[in-house]
Amino acid sequence: MITQYLFYFLTFTAIFCALLVVFSKNPIYSALYLIVTFFATAGHYFLLNAQFLGAVHVIVYAGAIMVLFIYVIMMLNLNKEVEPHKSNIIKIAATVCGGILGLVLIAALRETELGEITEYSNNGIGLIEKLGNVLFGAYMVPFEISTVLFLSAMVGAVFLSKKNIH
């Protein structure tokens, strides 16, 4: 029962703060509301029995990516409310396009007959021990490739932000 209340509270928080991210004019406020959305999403992961993933989500998103965003917003001095939004035609087009697609998806979800849902037990599948065994076993090659991706992203970021490139 308590998990149900917690789930709906986290859902409300996530959607409300996501709306505020999109609709607030100041980019600093958008970034701060995005942090709240990330925390609510991490709460969803904890409720979904993926504890390690929730911790990683908080560390990487709210810790690393949002610090990068806020640092860049402050460095480029964007914290003023001068951002003109796009014209009303584009807003209406975005609303219609997103809304119709969302309606179709929600209607399809409502009509869905879910088959046998296995009743899962709290067997600690999302804890770090089992995750580590699988990550360094079956998922070894994607793990190594992601390290190469990180290295190339770092080199690319440093190269792109150098001043004089010939």
Binding site: I15, V72, G98
Partner: protein
């Protein structure tokens, strides 16, 4: 988590996806566009974890997909912000409508 049907979690991720899509279309600031992309990635991650937990609770594949999506999102944010800083240096604005040419 036993009393919550799977479709409610999918409703949450659908809502987050389309909020991010609306922001992607309507904002002009490049950094907020990047934030909308992060919202979309988040909704996809919720979908992966929910399907993994409800349908195949003995497997871990959805969680690993989510972990790799998080790593790719981090590197993507770093590279995109480097590009934004470079554009700001040459154009003195981060408005997408003013970046019409792709050269240094």
């Amino acid at each position: 988590m036993n009393g919550i049907p799977l479709t409610h979690i999918l409703f949450v991720s659908t809502a987050l996806f389309f909020i991010g899509m609306y922001g992607f279309f309507t904002r002009r600031n490049m950094i907020t566009i990047l934030m909308s992309v992060e919202l979309i990635l988040n909704s996809v991650n919720i979908n992966f974890v929910a399907f993994n937990t409800y349908l195949y609770p003995q497997n871990l594949d959805g969680i690993f997909f989510t972990i790799f999506i998080v790593t790719i999102a981090a590197s993507e944010a770093a590279v995109a912000i480097a590009i934004i800083i470079n554009l700001y240096r040459s154009l003195h604005s981060v408005d997408v409508d003013e970046t019409g040419e792709l050269k240094f």
